[in-house]
Amino acid sequence: MNAIEVNNIVKKFGDFTAVNGVSFAVEDGEIFGLLGPNGAGKSTLIRMLTTLMPPTSGTATVNGHDIVKEADGVRRSIGVIPQAMTSDLELSVNENLLIFAKLYGVPRDRRKKLIASLLEAVELTQWADKQVKNLSGGMRRRVEIARGLVHEPRIFFLDEPTTGLDPVSRVAVWEMLQKIKQHRDLTILITTHYMDEADKLCDRIAIVDHGELKALDSPLKLKASIPGKNVIEVSFADPPPDWRTTIERLPGVEGVTEEDHVFRIASASGPATTTALMEAAAQMRVPVRSLSIQSTTLDDVFVHYAGRALRDALQAATPQDSPFMIRRG
């Protein structure tokens, strides 16, 4: 049985369609990523699956329970980390977990042991009695991860769990999720707009944009499914009008896109194409502003399937987040 099954689900807000006929299935025990830019419909989708929002049409089951007809069954099966930090700042770490254990009806004799093991898993044991308001953003997120697991759910939903965290905290959250997953029978559905996060964490990824599912497969297969093993990104000062045609004829080139004199070249052989490109630029006296060469990433996969770069994500990200930071001028 699949942990989650989504069939042609639609969510409309007036005239605006946030999710448009999305279908997919999440297998038991896998980490499944919903990847897309801000406003792609990821959060709306996760809110429907966690019973926070009724769908306009379509159906979905979570742990075998219909999200509309058997909402309480769904709620008993899931742990949810919403996008916003929702821990009680005035309460201590331990109290936050205790209250939610009681809300879920975790028996008294198991609560203490369970909370202790979760605090250990998220490395917050020494902070158990501190008020959440005194913790850093990354630590608060770890409190929420522990809180979401306090009733031992079968399926764990995380809505952009690392948004707003510094790179070190993000990596810490990834490692903790992987560690927790190793010791539990848990299916994880995670939404993110960070490509590297999806690449490192997820067994399979669904790329969502404009409320539609654009592609779904493992990160490796998704990367293999698009042309080119390398992506060369090169910026020229004043390229001639037929420059793109010239590039397309270079050895190894499988595809070229251009925006503001910045060319993204998908190549089967990065070094050969780069050498030929430099020679052509020198011969035609076209000044090169910048050049970088990368292996194919999920960013390229997204551009290929969604047809545009993740501008929102790139704006928010630090240089370490994406190898494709474009510096112009």
């Binding site: 809110r47 966690t50 019973t51 926070l52 929002m53 009724p54 909402a71 309480d72 709620r75 008993r76 899931i78 949810v80 919403p82 996008q83 916003a84 930090m85 929702t86 009680d88 005035e90 309460l91 109290e95 209250i99 939610f100 009681k102 809300l103 879920y104 009806g105 008020q131 809180r147």
Partner: protein
């Protein structure tokens, strides 16, 4: 039930860490009790009265002497002699004196002729309290003036003997029931409504909504925790307020128990009303904006500061449904008359029915989704 208790526990743990909340909920009612209680409770004194004697006869001198006696005795008025009536009236218009008592030139002759002798009081009626106090003092003065020199051995006229059932009730005691209601209301608004909407805006309620908790359990949990907080606030204010206002025997056990019951009923009623009003609100500014309006609409028509019999019909209609009315009535019965439950069954019944209706409506209107 365990889910309701989990919500109550969470709210009370947070409350314990915010001691300023309970202090803030009591500051305004206490300040109002003390300031209004002592500002309105006293008698008006030292009103400036210009005496213009145009007669100078013996009866006129007697009037002036009686005015001076009132000035040095009860001190309701301070007299100032004026020779020029025009100057006196001018000073009245400019607010330098509160009234002008004129003894006309023919006064003494008319007294002796028993031909309708009159004195005139020209009063500044921009302040009703002042003009009424002035008229009352001068009327009493003339009443004394008109008494015969020797009284009849057996009076032939009917007289009124007033017997007051309870000891003198100063205005500060009269205000106390309304202040207790207000402290409960303040806690309901600050510790209930505003925190509820702020939590909602911060996304904290999402945490609740993804658990298997029911709508009724959620509302009951919020109502119960809000009631406990408001009861604490109301009880502390009742105790402190009773000591400030000088309520006799404030720690009588049975009365304290009855007061506790009324405080619980009032707190539960107001928190139910508040959640009914807030159940669909998402904007954190709205409860703050509603705060003042609700306070005015609930507090003033309740009879807490002025008898409802003096209200226009539309305001009496508001008072009839206002839960403050019944709470204030019950507190007045217990604090000022020291009655038993038999005097407040109706009040408790109304508060209970109002609570059940409000809580049921809030549960129906509550959205289990975002």
């Amino acid at each position: 039930m365990h889910r309701i208790l989990a919500i109550v526990e969470r709210e009370l743990r947070r409350f314990k860490r915010s001691p300023m909340l309970i202090v803030m909920s009591m500051i305004m009612p206490l300040v109002q009790l003390v300031v209004l209680g002592y500002a309105f409770g006293g008698n008006v004194k030292h009103l400036k009265v210009a005496i213009v004697d145009q007669d100078h006869g013996v009866p006129a001198i007697k009037i002036r002497e009686m005015a001076q006696a009132a000035s040095s005795g009860a001190r309701t008025i301070d007299t100032i002699e004026y020779a020029d009536p025009g100057q006196a009236l001018n000073d009245l218009r400019n607010g330098r004196v509160n009234g002008v008592l004129t003894i006309p030139p023919e006064f003494s002759r008319r007294v002796l002729q028993k031909n309708q002798p009159r004195v005139a009081l020209v009063a500044d009626n921009t302040d009703t309290f002042v003009s009424v106090a002035l008229a009352s003092t001068v009327s009493a003065m003339l009443g004394a003036y008109n008494q015969p020199a020797t009284a009849a051995r057996i009076p032939g006229q009917a007289t009124l003997d007033v017997v007051e059932v309870y000891p003198y009730v100063p205005y500060v005691q009269y205000l106390l029931p309304g202040s207790i209601c207000m402290s409960i209301f303040m806690m309901v608004m600050i510790g209930g409504g505003i925190i509820f909407i702020d939590d909602k805006a911060r996304g904290l309620h999402e945490g609740y909504l993804v658990t298997p908790i029911s709508k009724l359990e959620l509302i009951a949990g919020f109502n119960l925790s809000g009631t406990i907080k408001a009861v604490l606030s109301g009880f502390v204010l009742m105790t402190v307020g009773s000591l400030i206002a000088g309520v006799p025997n404030p720690f009588e056990v049975m009365r304290l128990f009855r007061l506790f019951v009324v405080i619980v009923a009032t707190a539960f009623c107001l928190i139910s009303l508040m959640f009914l009003l807030m159940v669909r609100v998402t904007d954190p500014l709205l409860p703050r904006a509603m705060f003042g309006v609700l306070n005015t609409v609930l507090y003033f028509p309740s009879g807490a500061v002025y008898p409802q019999q003096g209200f226009p019909a539309w305001m009496q209609a508001i008072a009839a449904v206002d839960p403050f009315t019944y709470a204030v009535h019950a507190f007045k019965s217990l604090l000022l008359r020291n009655t038993g439950f038999e005097a407040i069954y109706g009040d408790l019944g109304y508060l209970l029915v109002f609570s059940i209706i409000s809580m049921s409506a809030a549960t129906m209107l509550f959205r289990r989704t975002l």
